[in-house]
């Protein structure tokens, strides 16, 4: 298994598309300023990565839910592999090629598409070749195995962070040890030293950003809700790519201010707001435009996403930067899915539904993701207790051959009729 040589990576497709969207937003008086900032940030992230790749600089590829704060503190160029792969797929329309390349590597078609396509993207040379591969077992076993394969494909060294399943003082200490080992590995590989003062600054900004995420969540409770139907995906990307970065703080403050204005003006994201929805897991990326459109058409809006935007309690302490990075990893909204789904976690979903006054929930059941699909019945039952109906939408987050736009429309229309009937 090797990377295709001599092929140019496709980072330019993201940079070009992001710049165009950003310019179009700048020219439109109705566009949100935060939206313009977001695409500028995306363009800048990938420009930096592209330049690093051209200049042969040290690049650290990492999987999702990785403590990127450490890379920024060491001035190492990060590459978020899942986000990069699927942004390229979105902007080039080449998802089928990447998925097929993954199958050719020997990954069965039943293996979850984000990981299959990721391996395929590296094999095709769509992504730049990294200097090191970093990964952990967050938030599934597939990720743990995926990193090994990516290291093999890229013929590069790698480091695996063993993230404890449970949370306790001992386990937090163990994770701090894991991060120290990784820092040592990175120092050896890159020749760079960890800048602890810089990490403390990043942690301070990350703490501020978590506060801003919470403020934004509070504003989304307003009726009508001010944030656009699928806008939460931007919030995810902000934490995936820019944790503790000054530009992320600027983006979140700008967005918060815009939402404050909209709430004051009683301006909703959809007009009229008819259905307030909870989103469980991630909608198909290739249908985001369509989902935004149908949401506007039916006055439906996602107001809360317990596994993606609802941060755990606690604050970070810049005086203990590494311990804070560990603490943050346990505060991630996605951590509710890691470890046993006990009554407390399930009650959290119910609280979310009640606080945000949701009319219904849409469960995006990614057919390849077995550990999330195992929760369908569990979540349906827990939401049924408070009379919140759940639509289970069988789909795939990146593979358009699983569910068509027409099929999704049919299912959503049935669900909206159900909600209308109950009002």
């Amino acid at each position: 298994m090797t990377v295709s040589q001599g092929k140019e990576n496709k980072l330019n497709s993201i940079i070009r598309a992001s710049r165009i969207i950003s310019r179009m937003n700048q020219a439109s008086p109705e566009a949100r300023k935060s939206n313009t900032l977001y695409y500028q940030m995306i363009a800048d992230y990938y420009t930096r990565l592209l330049e690093a790749s051209k200049e042969g600089k040290f690049i650290a590829a990492h999987t999702v839910f990785f403590p990127t704060e450490i890379l920024y503190a060491m001035d190492i160029v990060p590459m978020h592999t899942e986000t990069t792969t699927w942004m390229i797929a979105l902007f080039t329309g080449h998802s089928a090629d990447m998925l097929s390349a993954g199958v050719e590597l020997g990954l069965a078609s039943e293996i979850c598409t984000p990981h299959r396509g990721l391996a395929g993207a590296f094999a095709l040379g769509v992504l730049p070749r990294p200097s090191v591969m970093l990964w952990s077992n967050l938030v599934c076993d597939n990720t743990a195995k995926s990193g090994e394969l990516l290291m093999e494909i890229n013929h590069c060294p790698g480091f695996f962070i063993d993230h404890p399943f449970q949370r306790s003082e001992d386990e937090e200490k163990y994770l701090v040890g894991e991060l120290r080992d990784m820092i040592h590995f990175l120092e050896e590989q890159s020749g760079r030293k960890m800048d602890w003062d810089r990490l403390a600054d990043i942690v301070a900004r990350m703490d501020r950003q978590i506060e801003l995420f919470r403020e934004i969540n509070e504003l989304r409770k307003a009726i009508p809700t001010p944030f656009n139907p699928q806008g939460f995906l931007q919030l995810l990307t902000i934490d995936y790519l820019f944790p503790g970065r000054p530009e992320a703080t600027k983006y979140l403050e700008t967005l918060r201010d815009e939402l404050v204005e909209r709430v004051k003006a009683g301006q909703g994201a959809v007009s009229p707001e008819r259905f307030r929805l909870m989103s469980l897991f991630i909608p198909p990326m290739y249908l985001i435009g369509f989902l935004e459109k149908i949401s506007q058409e039916y006055g439906a809006v996602s107001v809360t996403e317990p596994f993606f935007t609802y941060w755990g309690e606690g604050a970070l302490d810049p005086a203990k930067p590494l311990e804070s990075v560990v603490k943050k990893s346990y505060m991630l909204p996605e951590m509710r899915m890691y470890g046993p789904l006990d009554e407390r976690a399930l009650n959290g979903i119910v609280n979310c539904a009640e606080q945000y006054r949701v009319d219904g929930a849409v469960y995006y059941a990614d057919v390849g993701c077995r550990h999330t699909c195992a929760t369908i019945k569990l979540f349906k039952d827990v939401l049924d207790r408070i009379d919140v109906p759940v639509l289970t939408l069988d789909c795939d987050v990146v593979d358009p051959t699983i569910t068509s736009e027409e099929d999704v429309r049919d299912k959503l229309e049935q669900f909206f009729e159900l909600l209308e009937d109950r009002q």
Binding site: K380, P389, V390, T392, D410, K411, E413, Q414, E417, L418, D421, R422
Partner: protein
């Protein structure tokens, strides 16, 4: 003003006219390639049966796979909403309804007001559908009506796969050519059981609450309904004309709209 409901299915189109005192008329016609012409044929026939002229004020609602393409209907509603309204009109005690159509199956759960609590569709595969049963009848060289009768006489059931229509077909052929061949009625009961096992697993996804009603064209097959009853362990309700339930539901919605003063 009269309320008209039209359900354009993949094999048949159903229409129901609802007056103030109940169903005035209903009809079932074959669906042709043109949705609009099937819907018009059904509308003309049901109006004729009801003795209502086209000049009378009509408020129509369409549903079914072709429901969205009926240009003359005032509203297009999904099959689940129409099934819920239709079954609540005909069998108010039904809380779970199994609709077994030609190319898809739907299970819905409704509350006492006839509003949907949950539903689940099966429309990705031929196994467990009416067309599958038609295909099996053809293979056995008997009519679907005969299938129903023979199934009721079966003392046991042949093993037939419920997972895939293609596998099921080869299993049926193998039973026919076995020496001695598996008795016809046992093969048919096995075919019915394979369909029922799909339906039961669909029901379990959303939970089964009594009373349970079976509607759609397949509900006319008594042999199959008997197997559903055996598997569920209690009696199942089947309305007199189970095929028209969705069209009736569309007509009920049309009437609700008339009462709200819509036009």
């Amino acid at each position: 003003m009269k309320a008209l409901g039209i359900d354009v299915g993949s094999l048949t189109t159903k229409a129901v006219i609802l007056g103030n005192d109940g169903i005035l008329a209903s009809c079932i016609v074959h669906s042709d390639d043109e949705v609009e012409s099937s819907a018009k044929t059904a509308m003309e026939e049901v109006l004729n049966l009801a003795g209502v002229s086209l000049n009378n004020d009509l408020y129509s609602v369409s549903t079914g796979v072709g429901g969205k393409s009926v240009s003359f209907s005032y509203k297009k509603k999904t099959i689940t909403t129409c099934l819920a309204r239709g079954i609540s009109y005909l069998v108010p005690s039904a809380r779970t309804t199994i609709d077994m159509g030609a190319e898809s199956s739907t299970v819905i759960r409704v509350n006492e007001r006839g509003h949907i609590i949950d539903w689940v569709n099966h429309d990705k595969c031929a196994a467990g559908t009416g067309v599958f049963l038609q295909q099996m009848a053809k293979l056995m060289q008997i009519s679907t009506e005969e299938m129903s009768k023979l199934s009721l006489q079966a003392k046991s059931k042949a093993d037939i796969s419920g997972t895939c229509a293609v596998f099921a077909e080869s299993e049926v052929i193998s039973h026919v050519h076995r020496d001695p061949p598996t008795p016809k009625e046992e093969i048919i009961a096995g075919i019915h059981f394979s369909v029922v096992s799909r339906i039961i697993s669909l029901c379990k996804r959303i939970g089964i609450e009594r009373d349970v009603a079976v509607v759609g064209g397949v509900a006319l097959n008594r042999g199959l309904v008997k197997i559903i009853e055996e598997e569920m362990g209690f009696g199942i309700l089947v309305p007199d004309r189970p095929q028209i339930v969705a069209a009736l539901g569309a007509a009920v919605i049309a009437r609700e709209n008339i009462e709200k003063g819509a036009k």
